[in-house]
Symmetry: C2
Subunit: 453 residues, 2 copies
């Protein structure tokens, strides 16, 4: 059995829904379909979710809501008309949209979530209707009926572990089940949405719950590229990634899927594939627990900017028990999240994201390091980028780091820091941001192409 999730751009129009239906129809093991709200049809379009935000604002500020209500209903109607689904489903959706403007405003922590979730919820109803009409018997399932119970944290719901057992019962249905993504229901029967990447989370949870053989995540790209297409000309797409590799790439700027969304699938040991609704024949990128066949040593190269390094030196630092822990404590007390901490003998650097370091926090760090830890020197280095060379198979290929550092040095790229831990899933290079693109291109050329300069 497969869980298949479609993103907003895959569901934006009748034309897209036809592709979606064909995809589902072509494989009878595609039994659970998780859907987003209709996305943009073109660059000037508005997402249904964004229209719902506008609707919520108008409603809560006591403005006239009829215009935005109409816009949203017409958005669904245009799809319904093109697909000839009839008036019954339209009036169902229309009622649902209008009913939002009767929800209580006062003391309602879940109002915003309820408005937003309507985008996915109504789209699921529409799609189930369309599937059934076009010969794919389907059933819409509300998350409450599915058993998707979540914590009472508006905008940041987390699944309640006992939900997985309830979700498993969905295997018993004979029809294709269409499940709206992005939200669950609290024990008090309130609609509560997940954080960013919401429909991906739903798909991941359903996949784990029904113990799917595969979680198919359909987007509008042919999978994950080995390097950013904006930096490298026509990078090849990756056929297989491990969850670990995916995490390392996501960290340094790759953002096809929100990585937290993958936790349920990862913990449930469900393999995942990222595919393209507009090009379903392309095998896409498979995300697995571990590689099976032979692999290139490097699967991808990611680069991300806006990093800062706090450089500390103190004579005999490494003799001082607890020094590193005290430095991290200072950061923690200031709610600063750190990323890396390469250490020398008498010096250490702490790499953090620029947004973590407000001028006030910067001053406080310097003051505490100087006063409490009596460091000899502390300096802040800005304008840094991280380049991650990712691949679980690097460990069985001696010389990957050598080839990488050589490729960088030949292009006069100065390595501010390097870190390669024993896991050997990745090598991290810290360089100056102005050299980032050059570095990614150099590494791509080194590990993926054979051609000359």
């Amino acid at each position: 059995m497969k869980v298949i999730k479609f993103g907003g751009s895959s569901l934006a129009s009748a034309q897209q829904l036809i592709k979606v239906k064909d995809i589902v129809k072509s494989d009878p093991t595609r039994r659970f379909v998780v859907v987003s709200a209709p996305g943009k049809r073109d660059n000037d379009d508005i997402k249904v979710t964004d229209a719902l935000i506008k609707y919520y604002k108008a409603y809560t500020s006591d403005q006239d809501v009829s215009e935005i209500q109409d816009w949203i209903i017409r958005r669904y109607q245009s799809i319904i008309d093109e697909l000839n689904l009839g008036s019954k489903i339209l009036s169902k959706i229309s009622d649902s949209i209008k009913k939002l403007a009767t929800e209580p405003i006062e003391d309602n922590d879940f109002l915003y979530d309820t408005f937003l979730a309507a985008g996915e919820d109504n789209n699921a109803k529409l799609i189930a209707e369309y599937f059934t009409k076009s010969g794919v018997p389907a059933r819409y399932i509300h998350p409450k009926k599915a058993g998707m119970f979540v914590t009472s944290e508006p905008g940041n719901a987390r699944i309640i572990p006992s939900s997985y057992d309830k979700l498993e019962a969905l295997r018993e249905y004979e029809e294709v089940l269409v499940i709206p993504g992005f939200f669950g229901v609290t024990v008090d029967n309130q609609i509560c949405t997940f954080s960013r990447g919401g429909s991906d989370i739903t798909g991941s949870i359903v996949a784990a719950g029904v113990k799917a053989d595969l979680y198919e995540n359909f987007t509008d790209v042919d999978g994950i590229f080995a390097a950013h297409p904006g930096v490298v000309h026509k990078p090849h797409s990756i056929s297989e990634l491990t969850y670990k590799e995916m995490r390392e790439l996501a960290y340094a700027g790759f953002s096809v899927l929100h990585d937290e969304a993958l936790i349920p699938a990862y913990r449930g040991r469900i393999p995942l594939v990222i595919k393209n609704t507009n090009n379903p024949e392309h095998p896409g990128t498979k995300i697995v627990l571990s590689h099976e066949g032979p692999q290139l040593p490097v699967v991808g190269i990611a680069g991300d900017d806006k990093f800062v390094s706090i450089n500390i030196s103190k004579y005999l630092m490494n003799r001082e028990v607890g020094f590193g822990r005290k430095v991290l404590q200072i950061l923690e007390d200031l709610h600063i999240r750190w990323e890396h901490m390469p250490t020398g003998i008498d010096d250490m650097s702490i790499v953090i994201r620029e947004r973590e370091l407000t001028p006030i926090k910067e001053q406080e760090i310097i003051s505490q390091l100087t006063r409490k830890l009596e460091v000899d020197e502390v300096s802040i280095q800005r304008g840094l980028s991280i380049i991650m060379l990712v691949g679980e198979n690097m460990k069985s290929h001696i010389g990957v780091t050598a080839a990488a550092t050589k490729a960088l040095s030949e292009r006069d790229i100065n390595l501010v820091m390097i870190s390669q831990g024993s896991s050997e899933v990745s090598v991290m290079f810290v360089i100056e941001t102005e050299q980032e693109k050059k570095a990614v291109r150099a590494l791509y050329k080194e590990f993926f192409t054979e051609s000359s300069d």
Copy 2:
């Protein structure tokens, strides 16, 4: 003004003392001479300090002490006779050695220190006498008279900061001052010794106190080699090192001077030179605050074994605020000193010295990481070595790391970890110990010799 310190092997015989006198005489700015106890004359000899330990043990266990007393006195006598210093100095030293066996044993925390210090103290008297007789007017100064006041920590004395002002007054003497190394005096007038490297510490303190232009440390080698002579055939000696570079090399197994001994000189900004009593024309190795002239990118290569890595992985580790700090807290609570902590995204390694990890502590770490921090995996990797490639000028030479990793990969040496911080004083490679010598040789060849394999 220069402070000049001689180690035990430079003071083991009359023949050696003649060299020492010539060295002091040849430069009138050599005004402060810090001396160790007489060392071994050959491999089968006994150091005076070791004889004093034997003497202490006999005395405190109520055995006959006359034999060992005689041995020690005869040891000084043989030098006195060869140098024709006469009976007055001999009886002074003889009285001092015998007097030790009248010190109170009960409730005397400083007895062991008092016995040990006698080796340096009597040697200083002897040397001052010899210098004066051979035309170098000299004066023996006891640390108490010099103003060398220390904390009451037997075997681990630390200088009391106000001592530096008192020491500065030593500049006023016209004679060469001969100061016994290794010990100071507490405010309660007790003899208290420094930790290992004791005479080096005295020299370093005196150099800082008298604001010397140079601290000359005479040993029995031509300075510090760029790699260990037991690994690399005839390594060249380093002409100039910074204190930072010295620390990095000392960390990974270079042990010419005990690095804590250098703190006073470092803090006092006094340059230091390591020279050979048996080859005083050799310029030796100068240790400076910062390089002035042009330098090779790499000054030295050190390797040290007996390291262990604790490898931890946890999905989404880097999202967890305080994770690294909690790991370090676990180690700190178990009194484990860590060395390095390279981090990936979802994994980190902690490198520690093998002696820190008893089987019980290992079990405790694994249990706490699993239970308290809920890590996905934890493993212990043994048999690791650290290789440090050291040189402050690496930062202005792009490609040092590339050349190093290439040299290692060409010899099939697998890099378990790499760490290079922003200070760029060193690059650290963690490799398997069985490849350590091969790695040091490969790097030496890469950075110091031009010849082919």
